[in-house]
Symmetry: D2
Subunit: 190 residues, 4 copies
């Protein structure tokens, strides 16, 4: 199997993201993100392992757009408070650590949004966005191993969400400013 | 613009990955990775910012397959030595920090593979794999902001490379073992 | 040599921190940190390797006290702007990466405070606090290898600074609140 | 209270490390670390938050000395296997996430060494080294807030352990080699 066929299998998994329902949920989540700028609420992001790297990529873009976003587990993440938004990225939503992070965060009465491969049943979750792919532990047979299809779907979904956020709230100028800073090598990214 | 159209723009950028040349380069890189198991060489990975999160996702899969792979900048990364393989992920390949890391690593006579959006001219680079998308600082107009298209292409290219590595060297049993460990929640991933 | 003697050698290196000059510099730095709450400036922290782990420990405490502090290199770190405070922890202050981070940050006209083992000559540095120990590359013979004495001195100096910050600006209530959150296991620290 | 008095309070907490019992436990742990080079076992390190930064500082030194050490939570950490050594750094040893990590790791039959401020009762723990200071959630009144005294004690204890490891197994040449690499700026530390 050559590279072309593998990429096609990735595209096949992306089909779910093109459905109208996800478009609507994306807008709803963007609305919740935007609302925190009014309520002075923070946005927290968490994922374990590779889902966490996707989460960090997402948090970075939110911060670049000027939002107060933080990654759970980083040194400079403040405590959570009531009505903050907490976006969890997890294929199955069911591993012990993910369940405990949700439990601990929920004690602060944050609003928990779960982005997962399949439906996650947990009354602590306020909104569950299902983006397909495949969780690490699913019996489903897919081309890529472990949770790769989910992680790719998550990165593309969240980057698309960022695009829609920019358009919906006219953040183009802010993007241009950051782009300019990168061109002048003024952001100490390591 | 709804989610569907954004995903299509992502797919449009993925076209370059389906070309025969990249398939060949992917096989060559896999061969170099595999060779390190014979020479007892290490594989190092580096990227700055979001390219770094893609790099960590890649390093994680290599380690799960049993390779001696390490991420530059993590606490448990050993010193480099002659003929180790060093895979750098960078849209432009030109920011100051990326150039420094290449300079410093090159003093150890490692073989440097650069995965970038555009061609990178640097005689220290042993192999340059161009995967398109768009670097953060390019003037190119693309749908997603900054280097997102490059980062998505990089994640998908490297995950596809992992798939081909599994097939070419019959690592299915190893994948099955790791999957089983995840199912039994025996991997302390945070 | 038993543990007792090694600890005594550590204490011997700590003597420099007890001198009156450092006490004064500590107060000056605390004043600069506090001032950012008025000017709405951010505090950035950076260190490479083990100095970076000390830096993260420091940034975590600043955030817990309610300051807007960020670690360079983490996903959720915003861009720097004029008059922000940038605290760099580096034994020698002279490695290529540290010099480049200073160069890049300086383009944003931030105020750079360097905490180092020895004096660092660099006109980009606004304030240099010398805390002894020993840099990784110094010829000095000390008991602990590499830069360990510097890193220990840095952690203790910065934790003492935090103590003095709490006292000088009456932040005890805030500390009590965070302690209580830890007791109730409400902070998702991983 | 000036800096001098704060440093003295830190030194006061260090007294426990000078006792003969800890010297003996330090030698026993070093023996276990060394033994893994014979059994081809890995050494895993974990801590949450600031204890984690101490853990990373420790893992980095172990790797520099040539040991196969890994930090739980980093991208390039391999799966655990029977009889690997797992060193956990935690003031109280009792937060939900720390208990989870121990539970999950224990399923792999690793030997768990807990380094804590107070005694931790858990039959999954193979060896408990008590180094004083104060856990974040303890009612004890100490000068520094939260778990700072424990974290400082942990860093100094583990750095002293590294010193004794070098002496006991004649690793001076290895230290000299790494020092030389730092002098030549050949280690890409960020």
């Amino acid at each position: 199997m050559d590279l072309k066929e593998v990429i096609e299998s990735v595209e096949n998994e992306l089909k779910i993201l093109k459905l109208g329902d996800l478009n609507k949920e994306c807008d709803i989540l963007n609305d919740k993100i935007m609302k925190r700028t009014v309520t002075r609420g923070n946005i927290f992001v968490y994922g374990a392992g590779r889902s966490g790297f996707v989460g960090k990529s997402f948090a970075m873009r939110l911060v670049q757009l000027g939002f107060k976003a933080y990654m759970v587990g980083e040194s400079a993440t403040p405590p959570m408070k009531k009505d903050d938004l907490f976006i969890v990225i997890s294929g199955s939503g069911k591993t012990q650590i993910v369940k405990d992070i949700i439990e601990i965060s929920n004690r602060n009465l944050v609003k928990i949004v779960m982005i997962s491969a399949e439906k996650v049943d947990d009354e602590k979750i306020y909104m569950n966005i299902i983006i397909g792919g495949k969780s690490k532990t699913s019996e489903d047979k897919k081309i890529l191993p472990l949770g790769s299809h989910f992680e790719i779907n998550a990165l593309i979904f969240l980057d698309s969400l960022i695009f829609k956020l920019i358009k919906a709230y006219n953040l183009e100028e802010r993007v241009e400013k950051i782009t300019q800073m990168y061109r002048e090598d003024r952001i100490p990214v390591i």
